[in-house]
């Protein structure tokens, strides 16, 4: 476990060469990758969402692709399509893979794509395979989709339905950097042209092994009960929450807590892991009611209240 911790510490250090601050975001993206799941990243433009993901893919020696979602994007633009190829006077249909055939897919501004295109992407996320015509193509493992969302400029967008959002393990919120961090960002990118060299610290085999390792991390029974209590509690507050989280949230919270424990170099899940991971796990799975919104409450406030109520 110590070796893994050292590896992750080095990873944070390397990422720190490119991305200033945002340690929590990097940690949560790493948790998503360790859980073999997908994440929804929400933040204002210019907060290094794309840069962080691209850097991580680079450091893990993974194939990275980016899809810039627009309303006119078609599902075939993501999955790929058959094209006519002419070889020695014969015309054949050849499958041209789309950007989905990568290890890390960054779906930028997913809420700008039409529901049809969103569905194509989400199917790939869930099944880890793509069906074009009559042929099913298995996606290369590991496969992660990191979709970004912009909380502003909601006009002309197609917000993800709750059922679709539930398929993302985490909803990661990116906040603004601190004053000192911003000074560092300015110094780093306003004066130098060269990008620092990054070393590869993990590879595909390592990641696949880690996926198994995460599931092996033990959790105490009382902590399992705590997780289920937190999730079920979201369904017991009609004065605050209109729709609570599904059992998928319980599974996700256990997995994410385990992954966090591994990141911290621990061979057991702690209460702290659960309480920390409850926010990104639940924030896109609960819908506040009108009364809570009128009071100016955010989903994080509701989660905080729920956590404080659970023993």
């Amino acid at each position: 476990m110590k070796t893994y911790k050292e590896t992750f510490d080095s990873l944070y250090k390397e990422i720190g060469k490119i991305v200033v601050g945002q340690k929590d975001v990097v940690e949560q993206i790493m948790i998503t990758i360790l859980c073999d799941a997908n994440a929804l990243i929400e933040g204002y433009p210019g907060l290094a969402k794309t840069l962080a993901i691209k850097t991580m893919a680079q450091m893990m020696n993974l194939k990275f692709s980016r899809i810039q979602n627009t309303p006119d994007l078609m599902p075939s633009d993501i999955t790929g399509t058959y094209i006519i190829e002419e070889t020695s006077g014969k015309r054949n249909f050849k499958f041209q893979p789309g950007p989905i055939f990568a290890n890390i897919v960054l779906a930028d501004e997913i809420n700008r794509a039409t529901p049809k295109t969103q569905s194509a992407l989400l199917e790939a996320m869930q099944e880890k395979q793509v069906t074009v015509g009559n042929t099913t193509f298995k996606l290369d493992r590991p496969f992660f989709v990191l979709a970004t969302q912009n909380p502003i400029e909601q006009e002309g967008t197609y917000p993800l339905p709750e059922a679709q959002a539930d398929r993302f393990l985490l909803k990661i919120k990116i906040g603004y950097p601190t004053y000192d961090e911003e000074i560092e960002i300015v110094n780093k990118y306003a004066f130098e042209l060269k990008d620092p060299k990054l070393s590869v610290l993990l590879d595909k085999a390592h990641l696949i092994h880690m996926h198994e390792l995460v599931r092996q991390i033990p959790i105490a029974n009382d902590l399992k009960h705590r997780i289920v209590n937190i999730v079920t509690e979201t369904r017991k507050h009609p004065n605050l929450i209109e729709y609570g989280a599904s059992p998928r949230a319980s599974i996700g919270l256990v997995l994410a807590s385990k992954a966090r424990a591994l990141l911290k170099g621990r061979n057991y899940v702690s209460k702290e892991d659960i309480d920390t991971m409850a926010y990104p796990i639940l924030r896109h799975r609960i819908i506040l009611n009108f009364e809570a919104e009128r009071k100016g409450m955010s989903t994080d406030d509701a989660i905080k209240e729920i956590i404080s109520k659970v023993k």
């Binding site: 476990m1 390792l213 092996q216 991390i217 033990p218 959790i219 105490a220 029974n221 009382d222 902590l223 061979n267 057991y268 899940v269 702690s270 209460k271």
Partner: protein, 262 residues
Amino acid sequence: MKKFNKVLKEINFTFNYIVLFNSFLNSFLIFLIIYIPLSLFSFYQMYALVPAAVYFVIKTYKGIRKKHLISIEKKYPFLNERLRTARDNIKTENPVVDELKSDIMMDMKKVEVSSFFNQKNISYKILLSIILCFLVVFSAQFDLSFNFKDAADTAVDFIYGIGDNNSGDGKQGLERIASSGTSESVFGDAQIAQMGEEILDVVIKPAGYEINLDDVKETEKRDFEELFPDDVFIETSDVYEEKIQEDQQELVKAYFLKIAKG
């Protein structure tokens, strides 16, 4: 991971032992604390066993049911959540769980049983028990007891004495009680006290003696004359007969008969 099983069993055994010790000590204190007043107020002292036994049973039951691992985790934060996790995954076998178990076994060496005994508290309790035991011994030695009935009578007398100033003897309150001569509890039994300075020569024969079955013989048949002691005989009453002459005796008899009839 049989070794880890052993560790868990040892933890349970040690904690049950601690629980039993604490429960016993507390129960003993409760017994003594209740025993002394019962003894002083002349109640049946063994009633003190009831609350002590009830306390012992409840405390031991609760103590044994308590989750011992949490107590260890609270005392030793480096074991926090790890012990419980390993216990809950005792049947799971994978490299991560095995590593956790072996780590815990290493760290358990730093756990001291003595840290679960509150030495100061236990010392005070033992000291208190000793003091209470001495009190019991002294109260028995000097026969210290307080009789409610006598106390109530005394109190009534005392109150009556204060209330009735014209009792006749000119004495009041405690003075009256002290000189009344009826307070047997204070001065003892009046009949015994009347003996004054006479010496009572009492020989107390031993209660038990040996019976030799060989000494038991057939009873001898004896005459009454032989059995009856010589110094015991029937003597006729001659209170007045010996002082009155024989010739005048008839006259005296007639005189008394005449008086009786008259």
